[in-house]
């Protein structure tokens, strides 16, 4: 089903066709049956043992960064969801980003390109909370602790969610 050859990555991470097919099959979620890996394997023409070995290897190689329960923040009462964006100088962005990523209320922290003149921000992080005030207080704490209170930033709360599902990587869906 996934017919592209092993996809290479600049850092030298490779996934085989079988592994890609497995990741693809997992997008719909691990089956809720007593032997889920066996069922996945049957769909893909692999043994249960193959599936388990591929998963272990994908996790060990860091291609799968997390394998397990994916919770829906909103449904758990974390309805205030903010993307906070900052314009950090190129010299400091790595240092600030590394430190920002370690705060326990920060769930994602990425550097992304600026798109001038419309979009001057290069550092993005996500903060989830039950209330907006909590999230805003956390953003202030972040800015104070990192010494970037004077750096231009914006807090973008999410409102309507139009679509959310696991990523798909293959081309077998059309």
């Amino acid at each position: 089903m996934v017919n592209n050859a092993a996809i290479s990555h600049p850092e030298g991470v490779f996934a085989s066709d079988d592994e890609l097919a497995l990741i693809e099959a997992l997008c719909g979620g691990l089956p809720l049956v007593p032997r889920p890996y066996k069922i996945l394997g049957e769909r893909l023409g692999m043994s249960e043992e193959d599936v388990l070995q591929y998963l272990e290897s994908l996790i060990a190689r860091g291609i799968i960064r997390r394998f397990g329960v994916v919770v829906q923040h909103r449904r758990l009462g974390y309805t205030a969801n903010a993307m906070v964006v900052w314009n950090i100088s190129d010299e400091l962005v790595d240092e600030i980003g590394e430190r920002m990523g370690k705060f326990d209320f920060v769930t994602l922290c990425y550097q992304r390109p600026r798109r001038l003149p419309d979009w001057p921000y290069n550092l993005f992080c996500m903060v989830h909370g039950a209330k907006r005030e909590t999230v805003l207080a956390q953003v202030r704490e972040l800015a104070d602790s990192l010494g970037i209170s004077d750096v231009p930033n914006e807090v973008l709360f999410s409102s309507r969610q139009f679509k959310q599902r696991g990523a798909r990587y293959g081309n077998g869906h059309k």
Binding site: N4, I7, H9, E11, V13, A15, L26, C27, G29, L30, L32, P34, R35, P36, Y37, E48, L52, L55, E56, I63, I64, R66, F67, G68, V69, V70, V71, Q72, R75, L76, M83, D94, G97, T107, L108, Y110, Q111, R112, P113, R115, D118, N122, H128, E154, L156, F157, S158, S159, R160, Q161, F162, Q164, R165, G166, A167, R168, Y169, G170, N171, H173
Partner: protein, 148 residues
Amino acid sequence: MFETDKKLLNNYQRDFPLVPRPYAEIGKQLGLSEGEVIENFSHHIESKTISRIGAVVKNGTIGASTLAAMKVPQEKLIDVAKIVSSFDEVNHNYEREHNFNLWFVITAPSEARLQEVLSEIEAKTKITPINLPMVRDYHLDLGFKISW
């Protein structure tokens, strides 16, 4: 929520058991039967407190992905969002309170296909998205710590 429910949601966001009968293994750890664990997870998936048990793939290691944003006139937002969501390659699509009010994540098998999707979205909506691919990831994903 019951104590075991909390544990089901909190403790298995990473290091989900890689053994032939994972739900039996979780049951053993929490004092539930295999059937009860499966039933509990099914219930959480139905009520959408969890979206799935699955793999979160490291950004940039497989295929191509990006975050994109558009400035959409408020009265057109629903229609434009529908067009964006209709692409199979778009897996998240949501409104944010900002001039750039529509944000979406595209995941495609290749950079070429990703660019194609961006162009098709622009052609269909007549709005140019800004493309904000990840340059560097500073956060180690350990799952989402729920405080009850």
